[in-house]
């Protein structure tokens, strides 16, 4: 009779840990990563290794320098490095990768208090930083299967769409498999979709954000131009699908409940289309995500569920 133990709640604990979630994301990212090495060869591998390595090392060094608990083990730095690496074009230089990863980890994440306290997605912000800082990080490079196996800087499908002549656009199948100029990891839609299915099946991410995001871009492009083919190209071009799956689903920087996530994804879609069709930059995916990251706390406040019969205006 004396075998009853008294303990405080919580009594039921889940086995889901940060490192398990991050490991799932890495598994989901491995297919686009393999695709990028197939499409671009060794330069892609070099970018991936550099970004992941420097992201982990910068987190390690920052935690040592500030005497914080070591958090490299939760794999989040590796994920940030990998997401950043895959969103860069193949001609970005190694030292630029190091600067970008270090910026993403130290300035965007660690200075704000580490994982869970950052207000913006480290990978998306790191990409914007590189994009603004270096001309190389903004352009696109042709794959090994184009231009006689030479990796040369060439116009991305988005830049071609911008000219509105549509000449030189890759076929839809090439777009789907990633045989087009652009960043190394965002080309192969097939690999990204498999990663998306894996993440949803493992319940790491919810399906709403990517689907609403991509759907908004598709519908708005269709309405603005009235051309179905144009809208399909808009969805497949640039980093849209990639960012919708891997950047817009970050737990820390997006709203937590379903309605909030829907508003977030909708906002991302609208801003992306506005930048793509009316802005001076060819692509606006990372900017859209960054802007909506900043708005996330306000979306959260608007979409907070109130208890039944609760006071509507929760001002003090």
């Amino acid at each position: 009779m004396n075998k009853l133990t008294v303990s405080t709640s919580p009594h039921i604990q889940t086995k889901v840990t940060t490192s398990r979630i991050m490991a799932d994301v890495i598994i989901a990212l491995s297919l686009p990563a393999i695709a990028s090495v197939v499409l671009y060869g060794l330069p892609a591998l070099l970018i991936i290794v550099t970004c992941v390595g420097s992201a982990i090392i910068s987190e390690l060094l920052f935690n040592l320098a500030t005497k914080r608990q070591q958090t490299v083990g939760d794999l989040s730095a590796a994920v940030t490095g990998l997401i950043l690496a895959l969103s860069l074009p193949a001609d970005v230089k190694v030292w630029q990768c190091v600067v970008g990863s270090a910026f993403a980890i130290v300035v965007v994440k660690c200075l704000f208090g580490g994982l869970g306290h950052n207000f913006a997605n480290p990978a998306a912000t790191g990409r914007i930083f590189l994009f603004l800082a270096f001309a190389e990080a903004g352009g696109g490079v042709s794959t090994r299967f184009m231009n006689e196996a030479e990796l040369v800087t060439s116009a991305t499908p988005l830049e071609l769409l911008k000219t509105s002549t549509f000449e030189g656009l890759p076929s839809l199948l090439d777009m789907f498999l990633g045989n087009r100029a652009g960043a190394i990891g965002e080309g192969c839609i097939l690999a990204i979709l498999i990663g998306f299915v894996w993440l949803v099946a493992r319940r790491v991410i919810k399906w709403e954000t990517p689907v609403i995001y991509v759907g908004t871009v598709f519908l708005l492009s269709l309405i603005v131009k009235g051309d179905l083919e144009f809208a399909i190209y808009q969805v497949m071009a640039g980093g849209l699908v990639y960012a919708a799956v891997f950047m817009a689903t970050d737990y820390v920087t997006t709203p937590i409940n379903r309605a909030g996530r829907a508003v977030f994804a909708l906002g991302c879609g609208v801003i992306t289309v506005l930048i793509r069709l009316f802005g001076s930059y060819p692509g606006g995916v990372s900017f859209a995500i960054l802007i909506m990251n900043i708005l996330s706390p306000y979306i959260e406040r608007l979409c907070r569920r109130r208890p039944l019969g609760g006071v509507k205006n929760d001002k003090k």
Binding site: W95, V99, V107, L111, F129, L132, A133, F134, K315, K316
Partner: protein, 241 residues
């Protein structure tokens, strides 16, 4: 006086640095720190105006009617800015061209008006001049530090001369506007960290305890502000130009 003369002079440099602690004069700080040269000229010009205007405002502090003091300060400051502007145009045309509109904008520089309101109108001429020199030096040093980071890393040069190795590895975003905000934010964070240990106070909450100018201002008005801020639901007061 509680504070020795030396303290008045030195306070502006670290513990009450106008840019990094009081967060005043943000506009010129962000605009002219793309190169060391323009930051240096800006710092010197603003210091000259600050010292002169502090001296005159302090000397006239019993004559200027309280109700119209701000317009009076502006007139005094604007006269000195015009003098500095003309001197620069005559003797240092390079600096005059480099600073452009920001030279005239010294008139609305928060540091100068802030020190007039916070210090010069309550203290004697000698102390006000010392305060002006200290604050001016603090402004100059903060600008130079920011410009050093932005020019060396962003443009790969030092005082206009390119650095052999770094030139190939420049991070041009630091020389642009977003980089200005980035460097500014990081410097403020570092400064807060450094002054926290040396008897500084945490500036997380808005109160007299956290205010670097608390020893100069009369507490009642600050408490009124605190109540106002609490009623608005705002935790912090933001300084702007």
């Amino acid at each position: 006086m509680k504070n020795s003369k030396l303290m008045i002079l030195l306070r502006g440099i670290i513990m009450e640095n106008p840019v990094l602690i009081l967060v005043l004069g943000t506009c010129p700080t962000l605009a002219v720190t793309t190169s060391l040269k323009s930051a240096f000229y800006m710092g010197i010009a603003a210091t000259a105006v600050l010292v002169c205007s502090n001296a005159v405002i302090s000397a006239l502090r019993n004559i200027i009617p309280d109700t119209v003091r701000i317009p009076c300060y502006i007139v005094i400051i604007a006269s000195f800015v015009t003098v500095v502007q003309m001197l620069l145009e005559a003797h240092l045309p390079e600096a005059y061209e480099m600073l452009g509109v920001y030279l005239a904008l010294i008139v609305v520089n928060c540091i100068i008006l802030g020190r007039a309101e916070m210090y010069a109108r309550k203290n004697n001429v000698i102390n006000s001049i010392l305060d002006g020199i200290g604050m001016g030096l603090g402004f100059l040093l903060a600008l130079m530090l920011m410009a050093l980071i932005r020019e060396v890393l962003g443009a790969g040069s030092f005082w206009g001369y390119s650095i052999p190795f770094l030139e190939n590895y420049k991070i041009s975003v630091l020389a642009q506007a977003p980089g200005g905000f980035l460097v500014f934010g990081i410097l403020i964070a570092v400064m807060n960290k450094l002054t926290e240990k040396r008897g500084g106070v945490k500036r997380k909450s808005f109160s007299c305890d956290g205010c670097p100018s608390a020893h100069l201002c009369n507490k009642t008005s600050c408490n009124e502000l605190t109540e106002l801020a609490a009623n608005d639901g705002e935790g912090e007061v933001k300084a702007d130009d």
